[in-house]
Amino acid sequence: MSIDRLRRRLVSGFACTAASAALLPCCLGRAVLAAGGSSRFSLRQIADGLFAFQGADELMTAANDGAICNLGAVVGTDAVAVIDSGGSLIEAQAFLAAIGKVTAKPVRFLVNTHMHPDHIFGNAAFREIGATIVGHRNLPRALDARGAFYLHNYREQLGEALMEGVEIVSPTMLVDDHLQLDLGGRMIELRAWKAAHTDNDLTVFDTVTRTLFAGDLVFMGSLPTLDGSLLGWLRQMDALTAIDAARVVPGHGPITADWPQALAGERRYFEVLARDIRKAIVDGTPLREAVKTAGESERDNWHLFDDYNERNATAAFAELEWE
């Protein structure tokens, strides 16, 4: 009876919240001014017509403008495709300004490698310039489920000023499996993966230079975070390895690295984590205790280990219990 009505209230309550959040004064002009402070944003050429920005090896903070993940730009004879929009509107504006300095070609596509705030909080800046936003077919669903939470949670972590104008903007062009984008004299191949880092991971492969933009399917230096499926990630390691790339731009870590050697660290970490968690499950150790020690032998190999290892262990435990 009234349960349905109340359930709908719950839902529309949240819809309101999301809508109001989207209506916050979104003043791009002011963001541009603020971006003047982001002079540390620098694009490096990593191959012919290929540029990348290296994110800080840190958590997102007001001090680093949320600029913690690596971003990319691929320049064709007609147009530019950008890989990820960054962790704030301020970072996205600085990114666009830097692209304008290396090419006069229009930015036609923004490819989101997945749902996480450090990769999508700058999306509104690309919508403003008329770029088509491209993502995994599961990305809109994932953002619907998390958008309001992200905006709320990061307002606390990043502060009001950096969150100004940040909106959850979903892709309008979706990738089911594979999709090619023609930038003029240059094809990039987009590939949608099964659940791994998230359930909406997308990679970009530049056919001209054989460069793979892996998004967060590849972490180096900073501990990988698990927000999709550990088994799915491990199962797809071989398919990732088989990509005929000369180099990779990982989601976090160095701006470029050799391929497929770049995968070795995270693969080892997840195998250790899975082994430790499986043992705890067999022993009947409860989740709350198991996550305190699982993966511990990997501590010295990673930055941000204390920030993410227990979280990864928790997600891994809940998944591996069903094996």
Binding site: V11, G13, F14, A145, Y150, G284, L287, R311, E321, W322
Partner: protein
């Protein structure tokens, strides 16, 4: 009398409290600013609780930290979607027996996470499950004795940092495996004791309904396990009325007193009216 009044309220009150908390949550989401300091956030959780408790328990007195019930959870939620919580009951401190325990997460959109009814001679003293924690919040366990007394224990959980959200991780998988169940039995190490531990796992997205249908753009209604009952040979051990604050793939681990060697039976009903049933023979030590 007492019993009657309570069971009538059972149905209505969690809903009323869900509604009350929605308003509060919207307030929290829109109004929050600045760094969250622990003082402020325990205070704001308490404010939510102050407004909520009347909807759930009326004006009944709630005794705090009497030892009848204890609750433990990590100080910081690591994964907002999967926060382990342990509830301990001390039958020695409630001689007339404990009838039920309600688990409340003040700052969640649906703060009444679950109400567990305990079987009369089931001897449940420890129950652990996993919940979603959206924000800085107290987790509260309120036990009701057979005589109608309410006893509460609470623990404060800081929200997870970063990009961990209280949402389903692998939605396609969750939809494909819905309704599967697994029961693990941990028979006692000594054969003389009649207490055994069970862990029940149910595959279910336990969705919040905050996602849009890609075709219609309407929000998909919340879809979660609403009712669960666990029994041994028809004798109730534990039953639950739950909501979306219980994590995806609802998971319950608890101890109980074995009566005979009848099988363990489980029935779960979700908000779509789907019923999932299963049963398992009792594993006993030394067999």
């Amino acid at each position: 009398m007492q019993n009657h009044a309570y069971s009538g309220r059972q149905l209505a009150l969690p809903l009323a409290s869900v509604f009350a908390a929605i308003i509060l949550t919207i307030g929290t989401l829109l109004g929050s600013s600045g760094a969250a300091n622990a003082q402020q956030t325990t205070a704001s959780s308490d404010r939510i609780w102050h407004d909520l408790k009347g909807d759930v328990f009326g004006d009944r007195a709630i005794l705090v930290d009497t030892g009848v019930v204890r609750i433990e959870a990590p100080k910081r939620a690591q994964d907002a979607a999967i926060v382990p919580v342990d509830i301990y009951l001390d039958p020695a401190k409630a001689p007339d027996g404990i009838k039920s325990v309600t688990l409340i997460i003040d700052a969640n959109p649906a703060p009444v996470a679950a109400t567990f009814q305990l079987g009369k001679d089931a001897g449940v003293t420890h129950l652990s499950t996993r919940v979603r924690v959206n924000d800085y919040s107290y987790l509260r366990a309120i036990a009701e004795t057979q005589g109608g007394q309410l006893h509460m224990a609470q623990t404060f959980v800081k929200a997870s940092g970063g990009c961990s959200a209280p949402a389903v991780k692998n939605q396609d998988e969750a939809n494909a495996t819905m309704g599967q169940m697994k029961l693990r039995q941990f028979p006692p190490k000594e054969t003389m004791t009649k207490t055994e531990e069970l862990q029940l796992m149910i595959r279910h997205p336990n969705n919040s309904g905050l996602q849009r249908d890609p075709l219609t753009q309407y929000f998909i209604p919340a879809h979660f396990v609403q009712k669960l009952s666990i029994s041994q040979a028809g004798q109730p051990i534990l039953s639950m009325e739950g909501g979306i604050s219980i994590s995806e793939d609802p998971n319950f681990r608890f101890d109980f007193t074995v009566h005979g060697n009848g099988e363990i039976q489980v029935e779960a009903i979700d908000t779509d009216g789907k019923t999932f049933r299963n049963q398992w023979p009792l594993e006993t030590a030394g067999l």
